[in-house]
C-alpha cells in the first residue's frame, strides 16, 4: 500500500474535519449512544417490531432475546432493514439502540420452549409485548458480525404477548408443515414475497424444517444461511438465461462506502472483493486490507472466506440477472473508507446492492474501457483489483476456444 495515507482520526480528533465529514462520525455515534433511553422500571410493555435476536456464544445453549421498541414512530421499521436505505447511519443506530432486549437462555435443540416467540418473530405487524425483567435492563450496545446493532438488555423473568401476531398465509403454511425441509421452506417464503429479513427471523427461532430437526439458529448464522440458500437456488435459474452481450458497469456511493459491479459477457461466475481502509470496522491497522472470494459456474462447496457479505451480495446479483433475464460474469467491489467503523450488519451490503442494481448501468463493449472506468471510481488503483480479482485476471488473460457453429 502507498505510504502516503494520513491517519486522519488520530490527527484530527474530531476537531479539524480531516475526513470531510461533519459532524465527526465518531462523536455522532457516541452522542447517539448517550441518548439511549433505558427503561427505569423492571416491567416494560411496548411493541416488538417484531425482533428476536439469538446469540451464538455458549452454543448450543444460546441467548434468545425478543426486543421491544421504546423509541418513536412505527415499530415495524426497527427490525426491517429493507426499509433503512434512506435513513442515515445515525438514525438507524438511534432506532436500533432503542430496542430493549429481554434475554433468556435456551437450548437450540428445544425450539418448542419458545413456541410463542416463533409466532411473534413471524408476524407481519408489530406485536405488543410485556417483558418482566429480574431487575431494570442495563444500558449497553450489542454489536454483531452480521446482525444490526442492538440496545439495552436484561434477563427476562416473564414474557407476555399482549396482542395477536399477524401471520400471513404462506408463513403459516411453512410453520405448520412438519415434513418440509428448512431450505425448501426458505425458498417457498421467498417466492411468496416475504422479505428476506423476516425469513431470516423465522429461520432463527427454529420455525422451519422437518419436525424433530428444527433448531434455534443464532441470528448471525441464520442471516447468511438464508442469503446462501436463496441465492444458490436463484443461480440455478440464472444459468439457464442467455448471456448478456456487453459489459455493464454499476456504481453506488453511500455512507463512506463505494460499491461497484461489473457484469461481463460470459457465463455465470461471481466474485466479491472488499477493501477496508485504515481505522474501519474490521481493520484497526494503518494499511488498506483487500480481500476477495469467488466462485465459477459450478459454484462453491466451501464457505466463502469473507462470510456474510459474500452471500448477501450474491443474492442481490442473482436477483438482478433474473430480473433482466440475462446471465453474466459478476465482479463486485466494495471500498470501505476511514470513519466507517461500526459493524452495521450484512443488510447494508444486500440492500445497497439491490438499490444499485436498480440504477441504469453504463454499457461498454471493450474490457479496456470498463477497466478504465473502474479506476476512475475507486480510490485504490486498478492494479490492486487486477492483483486481487481472479475473474478480472481471467478476463484479461484467459483465451477461449474458437468453435464455429455449423
Amino acid at each position: 500500500m502507498p505510504g502516503n495515507l494520513v491517519k486522519p482520526c488520530l490527527l484530527c480528533r474530531g476537531a479539524r474535519g480531516l475526513c470531510g465529514e461533519s459532524p465527526c462520525p465518531l462523536f455522532s455515534v457516541w452522542r447517539v449512544v448517550e441518548e439511549v433511553r433505558v427503561p427505569s422500571s423492571s416491567l416494560v410493555e411496548a411493541p416488538s417490531p417484531p425482533s428476536v435476536f439469538v446469540g451464538w456464544s455458549g452454543y448450543p445453549k444460546v441467548r434468545v432475546a425478543p426486543s421491544v421498541s421504546v423509541g418513536e414512530g412505527d415499530a415495524r421499521v426497527y427490525d426491517a432493514p429493507e426499509n433503512w436505505l434512506d435513513l442515515s447511519l445515525d438514525e438507524i443506530l438511534r432506532m436500533r439502540l432503542s430496542l430493549v432486549r429481554g434475554c433468556m437462555t435456551v437450548d437450540v435443540r428445544r425450539p418448542a420452549l419458545i413456541e410463542e416467540l416463533r409466532l411473534v418473530a413471524a408476524s407481519a405487524k408489530s406485536v405488543d409485548m410485556e417483558l418482566k425483567f429480574s431487575k431494570p435492563p442495563r444500558p449497553g450496545v450489542k454489536l454483531d458480525l452480521n446482525a444490526p446493532p442492538l440496545g439495552p438488555a436484561g434477563i427476562v423473568e416473564k414474557l407476555r404477548i399482549v396482542d395477536e401476531p399477524r401471520i400471513e398465509k404462506p408463513v403459516d403454511r411453512v410453520l405448520s408443515d412438519s415434513d418440509l425441509k428448512a431450505s425448501e421452506a426458505v425458498l417457498q417464503l421467498y417466492s411468496s414475497g416475504i422479505p428476506v429479513s423476516r425469513i431470516q427471523r423465522i429461520f432463527s427461532v427454529g420455525g422451519l424444517g422437518v419436525e424433530g430437526l428444527r433448531r434455534i439458529v443464532p441470528t448471525r448464522w441464520s442471516i447468511t444461511a438464508v442469503d446462501s440458500i436463496i441465492s444458490k437456488s436463484l443461480i440455478e435459474d440464472v444459468k439457464r438465461l442467455p448471456i448478456i452481450d456487453s459489459y455493464l458497469f454499476f456504481e453506488r456511493r453511500v455512507s463512506r462506502n463505494t460499491f461497484i459491479a461489473v457484469i461481463a459477457p460470459y457465463a455465470w461466475s461471481y466474485e466479491w472483493i472488499e477493501a477496508w481502509f485504515p481505522y474501519t470496522t474490521w481493520n484497526p491497522g494503518a494499511e488498506v486490507e483487500v480481500e476477495g472470494d469467488w466462485e465459477d459456474y459450478r459454484g462453491r462447496t466451501t464457505y466463502a472466506s469473507l462470510g456474510g457479505c459474500y452471500y448477501a451480495a450474491r443474492l442481490a446479483t442473482a436477483e438482478f440477472m433474473l430480473r433482466t433475464r440475462k446471465q453474466g460474469m459478476a465482479i463486485l467491489i466494495r471500498e470501505i473508507y476511514e470513519g466507517f467503523f461500526l459493524p452495521i450488519g450484512v443488510w447494508f451490503v444486500r440492500e445497497n446492492l439491490r438499490r444499485m442494481f436498480e440504477s441504469r448501468p453504463e454499457k461498454y463493449d471493450q474490457l479496456e474501457d470498463v477497466l478504465e472506468r473502474i479506476s476512475r471510481s475507486t480510490r485504490l488503483p486498478l492494479s490492486t483489483w487486477l492483483n486481487t480479482s481472479r475473474l478480472l485476471r481471467s478476463l484479461l488473460r484467459q483465451t477461449r476456444l474458437e468453435v464455429r457453429s455449423l
Binding site: K239, Y266, A267, W268, S269, D296, Y297, R298, R390, S394, R397, Q398, T399, R400, L401, E402, V403, R404, S405, L406
Partner: protein, 254 residues
Amino acid sequence: MSFRMKLPSADYFSDLLKAINAVADEGTFKVSADGMRLVAMDPAHISLVDFELSSSAAEEYECSGELQITVNISELLKLLKYVKSGESLTLSYSEGERKLDLIIIDATGSKQRIFTFNTLETVEARSVTPKLTFDAKARISSAAVKDAIRDCKALSDYVKITISPDEVILFAKGELGGAQIKFSRHGAAIYEIVANKEVWAHFSINYLEKIVKAGSALSDEMTMELTTNKPIKLGFPIPSGRLEYLVAPRIEGA
C-alpha cells in the same frame, strides 16, 4: 427409432461419464449403428471434451437410425453413484418416450435395479471442434501429471506446460513461491516425446485438474499435444473409443 446397449461394467461407464462431466454438466450423445459420440464445451468455452465409444465396446448393441440423446450428466451420475464392480449396465432409449432406461444387474444376476431417467430437449446448435495443428507431442504417465498438477495448485491458479525435445515441464508461480516438476525423456513417466523445438503455454489449473483427475482413472497413459500459446490437446486412450480434451490457454507472457 430406438437404441439399446449392454456394457459389461456399469462402473466403467460411470467413469466415462465423470470424464465428460469434468468439462460439461449437460451433453448430447449422438448415437448410430457405429457407436456413440459426444462433443461438449464448458459454459465459459475454455475446455472441450470429445468422447466416442464404438459399438464394439458393448456386449450387446442395437441401434436403428441416428438418435440424439441429451442428458444432464451430473444428475445421471447420481444414479450410478452406488454401482459395484461386477455389475453390468444396459442403456435403452426410444425416441417417442424421450426417456433413458438404465438396468443395472449384479454379478450373480440375482438383483436388477431399473432406473428411468428423463432426457432433455436437444438444442440444435451444433458446433465443430476447432481445427488445430500441434508442434509437439508427449506420451506421459497420467498419474504423474495428476500429481504434478496437485503440486502446482498449492502455489498458483495456473500452470505453464512446456514440451521440449528432452523433457516435459510443469511450472507454477504464485505469491508465495514457485513449483517446477520436470519429466526427462529418459525417465519412467515419459513414454515418448515428438518435438523438434520447445513449445509452451499457460493453463488454468481449475480446468486441467478436473480433466486429468477423471482421465487418469480411465487410462494410465495420456498424450499432450501443444503449440506455443495455443490450446492444448489432452488424450486418454480408452478401449474401443476416444477421450480427448482441448483447453484454451491463458496468455501470461513468457
